[in-house]
């Protein structure tokens, strides 16, 4: 009897011990689950992926900001006002005088000069955001000028449209104002503090980075020195939960407030759950297939065009791409200035007879074999298999090779591929953002290594497109400009080195007590969100 009682007590104690201590999240903390594998550093000059970009825009203020309600609208931020010169060759920004870095150093125009110059000097991918608009290492001194502590002048090499400069240059990662006084002390061997900023931040913004444990957690805390009203939620804990199924269970149990990596099945299965609310916004990100036009038979426009008729876009949109994207066949995302409307921007459909005709017209009657490289991702394998099955009906053998993203990057940079599936995102709501990278190629020589241009990676070089994209950008008559962009997109859709497939959504599922979740294609505004 005593023995049985002891065993019973032990079991009870063990059960009590295993009961979770806390199920809900703290009221003053927003807990978000996301796959944080992509984070590798916090240097705004080097960040090139979605997750860290979202975090850094909540940590570092830029000179001007994108409006919370309208992704195309630029609003004053660290610059309270600005004047454009009559010849459109210079913009003078009047900066706030009350902004202070977390170190206590004042935010100055000199900080911005240093911050923008280092982007060019370091030469990471983000430098292309500046070089695309004529800024170079050589002209940085004349281009970025601090007239005094709080007046910054941006001098242009060409009369670029001011709206584009405001969106592409001074509102984004290259316009983040870093604490130059503090960071100069952190420089090692002339690295512009790149090493320090790998794991730290030094800038003014609503939050500061309190902790980053790779593969585990990111913690942001309200920056007490911020010049604006304090954030509605003082602390964000972003937990690394790579598995979507685990995220869903944690959200349903209230262990997290927001889940960011859920797939279509998870979102559908939670639609009837009153405790959660799905949210989505259309990104300016296009999922597409790239062709290596330096290799046969993809050097032929007709062959590439035939592939556009090998996808059942609607069926994919209803299944593997549900909640993930909408069919989009022009490279310019829906919602951008001068983008084709949804109907004109997605004219292709599954038509294998038409594809066969195009292949025959290209002189291909016997079929061929090609490799299709894909990186690990939520829907690329299914889309690849879909293409593989349809292409097989035309005698084309597609060998799918899934590989680590680093391996795919190496293949892209080395032009060593036949076909790849990947995504590309622009940072401005303007047709030029995508066309400049996908429809122009300044120098097709392999040694130029212009890998920041997807057109270069695909060896696609059309001088006429180079000229047309530039002409459309500088066209001052808006009606004429819209028509130029329309024709560019229509021609590009048929000749490009890419088959553009879907415009992607950014998804989140929130607990129903999360309010003021504000976001659009380019920003997520953590400072607004709170729990009731």
């Amino acid at each position: 009897m005593t023995k049985h009682l002891s065993i019973g007590c032990a079991l009870l104690a063990a059960t009590a011990l295993t009961l979770p201590a806390q199920a809900q999240t703290p009221q003053n903390t927003m807990v978000m689950a996301w796959n944080l594998d992509a984070i590798s550093n916090f240097d705004p000059a080097q960040i090139g992926e979605v997750v860290t970009n979202e975090l850094i825009t909540n940590i570092c203020d830029s000179l001007v900001a994108l409006d919370m309600e309208n992704e195309s609208e630029v609003v004053p931020w660290l610059a309270e006002s600005w004047e454009v010169s009559d010849d459109n060759m210079s913009i003078t920004f009047n900066m706030r005088t009350d902004a202070v870095h977390p170190s206590g150093n004042p935010v100055t125009a000199h900080d911005l000069v240093w911050s923008m110059t280092r982007v060019l000097e370091l030469g990471f991918g983000n430098a292309a955001m500046l070089t695309s608009y004529g800024f170079t290492v050589e002209n940085a001194i004349e281009s970025f000028v601090a007239l005094d502590d709080h007046t910054f002048q941006l001098n242009l090499s060409d009369p670029f449209p001011i709206s584009i400069i405001m969106q592409a240059v001074v509102s984004g990662r290259v316009g983040h104002v870093l604490d130059s006084v503090y960071l100069k002390d952190k420089e090692v061997d002339g690295d512009w503090a790149n090493d320090y900023l790998t794991t730290n931040t030094a800038c003014v913004g609503p939050y500061h980075l309190r902790q980053w444990s790779a593969g585990e957690v990111v913690v942001l805390e309200a920056n007490d020195n911020w010049w604006g009203d304090g954030p509605a939620t003082p602390r964000w804990i972003i937990r690394h939960v790579p598995e979507a199924g685990s995220q869903r269970l944690m959200l349903e149990q209230g262990e997290i407030d927001i889940a960011r990596s859920l797939g279509a099945e998870d979102i559908i299965s939670m639609q009837d759950n009153p405790n959660v609310v799905p949210a989505s916004t259309l990104n300016h990100q296009i999922f597409h297939m790239s062709f290596q036009t330096g290799r046969e038979p993809f050097d032929n426009d007709l062959v590439r065009h035939a592939f556009r008729y090998m996808f059942d876009y609607d069926a994919l949109a209803d299944t593997v791409m549900a909640f993930q994207g909408i069919p989009r066949h022009t490279v310019v995302p829906y919602g951008a200035f001068a983008a084709l409307d949804r109907e004109e921007g997605a004219p292709f459909y599954l038509d294998l007879d038409k594809a066969r005709e195009l292949l025959e017209e290209a002189g291909i009657t016997e079929g061929f074999t090609a490799s299709l490289y894909i990186a690990p991702g939520p829907f690329a394998p299914e889309v690849a298999q879909h293409l593989q099955a349809n292409a097989a009906e035309l005698g084309i053998t597609i060998n799918i090779e899934q590989m680590a993203s680093a391996q795919l990057f190496s293949a892209l940079r080395g032009r060593e591929f036949d076909l790849t599936l990947s995504s590309w995102q622009t940072n401005i709501a303007h047709a030029h953002g995508m066309l400049e990278r996908h429809a122009t190629n300044p120098d097709n020589d392999f040694d130029s290594q212009l890998a920041m241009y997807p057109s270069w990676r695909k060896s696609w070089y059309r001088p006429d497109f180079n000229e047309r994209v530039r002409a459309a950008l500088f066209e001052t008559d808006e009606e004429r400009q819209l028509e130029m962009y329309r024709q560019l997109q229509l021609d590009h859709m048929e000749q490009a080195a890419g088959a553009y497939l879907f415009q992607q959504y950014n998804n989140a599922v929130l607990r129903s007590n999360v309010e003021d979740w504000k976001w659009h294609a380019f920003r997520v505004f953590y400072r607004e969100a709170h729990k009731n």
Binding site: G48, E243, S246
Partner: protein
């Protein structure tokens, strides 16, 4: 006056000492050669993988100047033999370089993630052995009976059911459905900043702090992953124990013991079991090594920041410093386990002394 024969021949103690010295030297030499081989292998694996380490660091869209700068910084412009000797020097001083995934020294990352795996592995192997060995013995003792069949089926399921699937089902039932256990992660958000990391083992750290609420939270989150990993280890150990035991039970000395009237329990545990101990040690060491190497899928489902997930993530990102650092650490683990096994053999089997 000393006996001349004593002077000519080393004493018994001296011979033992000599033999032990030779054995120790042999072991050290084996370890050194194994480590050298491992380091050489990892270096050349790093060179033949289809990753461009510069692209892995910079991404695919950097300028040519940035590419060339990092290429030189990594020393890739130097001759291969020079790179190899630099690598060898660094590794021998436990400098595995910097991880691309975290921006920190790889050794710091391994120090951070390894305790999470150790905590999981130690508990899993404890329960795996505590349950697996008796079950294997019971199955062998009642070969062909319903108990044997039941244990074999139970072990077969544990052996063949995917951990990933078991993890998700376990979370759906016991965490989301019944609320009996904690969810993914090592600790609740509430305790994120309350724990003071000393050993990296949350149970020990929370006990040292006498924070029993944190201890309880950690236990609640360990139950499922430990249960699943222990189930797998138990299945392997039980099957092997049964097999070893069946072999022993068919030996003549067992029949003789039974004929002399020794009870079945005594025959099994006193006569047969000590004779399978050596083989069992090998099996347990293998199971433990596998658990330490990292149960990647379990760590993925349970958002467990352990060594297996760290290494897999690094591999997918082309973070070769981290991968090679982990490979060397895992190599060291297996070498250590092998040495421990050798010591156990000597204790259990006089013939190996």
């Amino acid at each position: 006056m000393a006996d001349a024969s004593n002077l000519a021949r080393p004493s018994l103690t001296g011979r033992r000492w000599y033999r032990r010295s030779v054995a120790t030297a042999r072991i050290l030499l084996t370890v050194a050669i194994t480590m050298l081989g491992l380091i050489t292998l990892t270096f050349f694996i790093g060179r033949v993988l289809p990753f461009d380490p510069v692209v892995a660091i910079l991404g695919d869209d950097s300028s040519r100047e940035a590419y060339d700068r990092v290429y030189r910084q990594l020393g890739l412009d130097r001759p291969l033999y020079e790179q190899f000797f630099t690598y060898m020097r660094d590794v021998l001083s436990f400098d595995f370089g910097r991880s691309l995934s975290s921006g920190r020294p790889v050794i710091d990352d391994i120090t951070r993630v390894f305790p999470a795996t150790v905590e999981l592995a130690l508990l899993s192997i404890f329960f795996g052995v505590a349950i697996g060995v008796p079950l294997g013995v019971a199955a062998a003792a009642r070969q062909g009976s319903w108990i044997d069949q039941l244990i074999r089926v139970f072990a077969l399921i544990g052996f063949s059911a995917p951990n990933f699937w078991l993890g998700l089902v376990g979370l759906a039932v016991f965490f989301a459905g019944l609320g009996w256990v904690g969810g993914p992660g090592r600790l609740s958000t509430f305790y994120q900043f309350d724990i003071e990391i000393r050993t990296g083992l949350i149970l020990i750290d929370s006990a040292l702090m006498q924070r029993w609420d944190i201890f309880q939270d950690a236990v609640s989150r360990l139950v499922l992953p430990v249960g699943i990993l222990a189930y797998g280890a138990m299945a392997f150990i039980a099957r092997m124990t049964r097999s070893f035991m069946l072999e022993q039970l068919s030996q003549e000395y067992i029949i003789a013991a039974r004929a002399k009237g020794v009870s079945r329990t005594a025959v099994i545990w006193v006569h047969a079991f000590p004779n399978i101990a050596v083989q069992l040690v090998t099996v347990i060491a293998l199971a433990f090594g596998f658990l330490l190497e990292g149960a990647v899928l379990t760590e993925t489902v349970f958002a467990w920041p352990g060594l297996g997930r760290y290494m897999t993530t690094a591999l997918l990102r082309g973070d070769m410093n981290a991968v090679l650092g982990c490979v060397i650490v895992i190599g060291l683990i297996f070498i250590t386990l092998n040495l421990l096994c050798d010591l156990f053999y000597r204790s259990f089997d006089p013939r190996t002394r």
